[in-house]
């Protein structure tokens, strides 16, 4: 048979195939390996977790010389106005939410990994307590309440006397600031600014966490025009705050370690965050003709991130939609909230109508996906119908905007607090004062900026 002889030749065909030059992804990976040294130290176990840790070096680089958190100072205000939060234990055995929360927080601080934990009562000046003493004060009520504490004085004391690298000072108070007379009210923010500014700390940062608790005792309004004191108050919840004051890096670490677990209102001044990990996702809800414009996009290495959109064709009828994945788990809860992200995430672009059409958080489907979207906590979808003739930068910016809760929690008159509700006198003025110290420029620095490139395909 003629054919049998030709079938005998098949091994030769196979050999021919093997001898021909062949690009494979393994080859290219090998080349890539020589260009970029491995980030993961050899002692670490390589595996699926390795790509997710790519954000870690960025954090370390951003932190500079700063080390881990070394000391935590907790200051609890024990003036008369705080007594309602910490009523003496009654027969009912019920406590306030403040007692529950602060006792738990003190315990967490005491258990935390920081080398030095110090607890203080704030009267006219800080008095050092042990953890047990302060915890007992929270649980059992204030023994000798201070007549009053002046918030600017307290802030000045903390920033001048207790400010140190890798140290945070946590001030727990109702932050009801009553100026000496009504004429001083317009200068509240200036008073706060001056107090915080006196020690001239260049990297000062303040995180404010707001909570509300039931309140059983005398309420001392800041505005004493109507009454000096409301006995057996209150029918409404009263807000209290944790102010975390310290160098920006220490505040960021402390927030992430101890204050992000529980829901709270929050606002941050002067805290700097590392740029979150991000990437375009070419196989997730992508629409239209576009692909990664990076030179090495074909390698598709695990954990690689892409920031260049190459658009091959786009028109009003055939728009291009691409999704940017963001890993925001290093940011505080405020900036992870989709309600905050939607109005404050913005695109800065030229020669294009690119705009954000949706911002959404990861769900079970994205988390369990086998695609690259499983690495990201939030997604930004962008639509483009026209673009420039050449590559143009496209920046995804998260603006640092004051959250809405601050104005909602602020009242101009707390003399009838039961009617006003869970609000604090002149809270927004206090925070104006903080912002003036921590803001360096006229324009507020964004929380993060992610540079992208939008270009026509070659």
């Amino acid at each position: 048979m003629h054919l049998t002889s030709s079938f005998r030749l098949l091994p030769a065909v196979a050999l021919g195939l093997l001898l021909t030059g062949c690009y494979s992804r393994d080859d290219i990976k090998g080349q890539a390996g020589t260009e970029t040294p491995a980030e993961v130290p050899p002692t670490e176990v390589p595996g699926a977790v390795a790509p997710k840790e790519t954000a870690a070096p960025a954090v370390a680089a951003d932190a500079g010389a700063a080390g881990p958190l070394q000391a935590i100072n907790v200051f609890l205000e024990v003036s008369g106005s705080m007594e309602g939060f910490m009523p003496k234990t009654g027969g009912s055995g019920s406590n306030t939410r403040f007692q529950q929360h602060v006792a738990q927080f003190l315990s967490e601080v005491n258990r935390s990994s920081a080398a030095r934990k110090t607890f203080f009562r704030i009267k006219e000046k800080p008095y050092r307590d042990s953890y047990q003493q302060l915890s007992q004060t929270v649980r059992g009520g204030i023994q000798q309440p201070a007549s009053s504490t002046d918030i600017p004085t307290v802030l000045d004391t903390l920033v001048s006397g207790y400010y140190a690298p890798n140290t945070v000072n946590v001030l727990i108070s109702d932050f009801i600031y009553s100026p000496k007379n009504a004429g001083a009210i317009p200068y509240i923010s200036t008073d706060i600014t001056d107090a915080l500014n006196r020690a001239q700390r260049p990297d000062l940062a303040v995180s404010v966490y707001g909570y509300a608790s039931d309140f059983r005792g005398a309420y001392y309004p800041a505005l004493k025009t109507a009454v000096r004191k409301i006995n057996s108050c209150c029918d409404t919840d009263i807000p209290y705050y944790f102010w975390v004051i310290g160098p920006a890096d220490a505040v960021r670490r402390f927030d992430a370690a101890l204050l992000e677990k529980q829901p709270a209102q929050q606002v941050h001044f002067g805290v700097k965050y590392p740029v979150p990990a991000s990437s375009l996702l070419s196989r997730f809800q992508n629409v239209g003709s576009w692909y990664y414009g990076e030179k090495d996009a074909s390698k598709r290495a695990a954990g690689a991130s892409y920031h260049t959109v190459a658009v091959s064709s786009v028109s009003a009828k055939g728009p291009v939609e691409f999704v940017v994945g963001l890993d925001l788990k290093t940011l505080p809860g405020l900036y992870r909230d989709v309600k905050y992200l939607k109005p404050n995430l913005q695109l800065q672009a030229q020669d294009t109508d690119a705009k954000i059409i949706d911002v959404f958080a990861a769900n079970d489907q994205t988390k369990n996906s086998s695609g690259a979207e499983n690495q990201y906590t939030h997604f930004v979808k962008v639509r483009v119908t026209k673009l420039g003739k050449a590559a143009r930068p496209l920046q995804l910016v998260l603006k640092n905007q004051r959250p809405a809760w601050i104005s909602q929690w602020t009242t101009k008159n707390d003399s009838n607090i039961n009617q006003a509700g869970a609000k604090t006198f002149a809270l927004s003025s206090l925070l104006d004062g903080v912002e003036a110290v921590t803001a360096t420029d006229q324009e507020k620095a964004p929380v993060f900026t992610i540079p992208l490139t939008l270009q026509p395909a070659d």
């Binding site: 003629h2 054919l3 002889s5 030709s6 030749l9 030769a12 065909v13 050999l15 021919g16 195939l17 001898l19 021909t20 030059g21 062949c22 690009y23 494979s24 992804r25 290219i28 070419s282 196989r283 992508n286 239209g288 003709s289 576009w290 692909y291 990664y292 990076e294 996009a297 074909s298 598709r300 190459a310 091959s312 395909a457």
Partner: protein, 130 residues
Amino acid sequence: MKGFFRFLYELIGTPQPPSETPVYREVIFPNVGLLTIGLSLAMVLIFYYLINKAMGVATFNKVRHWVIFLIINALLAFIIGIWQTSSQEVASHSYVYWMSTWNAILGLFWFFLFSVLLKRGSTNASTTPF
């Protein structure tokens, strides 16, 4: 060379889905192109120099035998297309089959080209196919 293969394989249109364009242009087109040229050359060498020269087989030099090799070459070229795209884990799309079919056609072309160029060196088949 990547540019040449990109031109050759994009004669039938740009890769689909568009998100897979980089891997097609940078990896699959050069791979498939080189493999197919290598395959066609090997098949031609086998037909003209191994069977019809070194082995001295005298009964396998007609046009119909040449056509058998031509068809096998095209089938293998099609398989190369499917194999390379699946090994690169591209998103599934009918384009994979269009590209593989186009590669089979290119396989026919390469086989014909090499035949014309190399047939003279064969002892028994120097006039096949014409």
